[in-house]
Amino acid sequence: MTDTTRALGREMGRDPAPGPGRLIPRDLSAHPVPYDPDYKTSVPRSPSLPLLSLESTPTEETGPTFGHGDLGALDANLVLNWTRGEAQAIGERILVHGRVLDEMGRGVPHTLVEIWQANAGGRYRHKKDGYLAPLDPNFGGCGRALTDEHGHYAFFTIKPGAYPWPNRGNDWRPAHIHFSVFGHSFGQRLITQMYFEGDPLIDRCPIVATIKDRSQIDRLVAPLDLSHARPLDHLAYKFDIVLRGRRQSFFENRPEGM
């Protein structure tokens, strides 16, 4: 490091620090509002005071890592994983695939993606789900996968059914798959939901509507992707996920010329 970059580092408020850059501060306008009376449960479950905003520290810049040793061979195949391949789940067979990227547009390699969903009738395999639609004995409803070196992931599953839920008079959730993504930093942790192109329930859903920026809602709607469908077998939907990125630390740890 040259004396010039050292001086610049001091000028920017601190000495040059080793390691990768800080996380890019979260743009909370990209996200749902925490408090939304149309989604009634959010009323008692949202903070009333502002969050404490600070620059990230190593606590948020590091995070857990998972490897193939943590996963089973059928974990990403929800059609088969509940029966360990003995029998197939009922429903419209779909491939759900996409990339996990960061805000710089770089693929996030080797990161864990977990999903859970209702069965084709709109019923979850969860003690608290008392919806009258039946359980499918051959469907568990959860899956997990690691992204490859370019950030690609894929799940084989069935299209979940819409389901009613107690909120306003007659609210229904559009068909959706819950996604949990880690990234490489605890501060990148994200849970979201994927919706399906063309579903008329999306525009009527109060949970979707907690996102006030229409263009951000569109980011959760996966298009039908016939290029990844297989004739006489399955359809496909493409769903890319963008996590927080890290600032390029030009004056912190870059050897000259890089």
Binding site: D15, H31, S180
Partner: protein, 199 residues
Amino acid sequence: MVQTLDTLRETPSQTAGPYVHIGLMPGWAGNPGAFETELGQTPAGDGAKGERIEITGAVHDGTGAVMRDALIESWQADAAGVYPGQDGADPAVSGFGRFAADPDTGLFTLKTIKPGAVTLPDGRVQSPHIALWIVARGINIGLMTRVYFDDADRDGDPVLSRIEQRHRVETLVAKPEGEGHWRFDIRLRGDGETVFLDL
């Protein structure tokens, strides 16, 4: 007009919903057949250096009711203040925990080791702490907070020192309840509201 930036926007969060357990803790949720392993069950494995601790508490909503459906993840350094993945980290410490409120009592328990103080690249020292991330039905974006310890030196901690209303610092401090046992409650809204972090 100006040039366009080539950065992307973060994907929006959505609530984890009431059924998050079957996705993230399927064995705990009664679906043990789903996966062969459940993640986040041992933040500190056998042979991990440091003091064994158990942190118990509950998540309370704005009416004071205990939430029986919250799911929490934890992330921490090892006993020397080094994060897993960093040079010299204790190989027995994964640092990552995942646990849920009991569906009957609402109590959660995190079994781990007490982390060490973390020295920042600029020389400031973070008092020993564990980061928590809380999701549940009704929480539209996961809430980040930290557990600090009542018996540790917290002066100069860069996060705690930025809390303007000083009495709120206590919402981030676990209290001792006997040898190795700590109590930490999280209040989402209203009286005693926990300080949540955006960092």
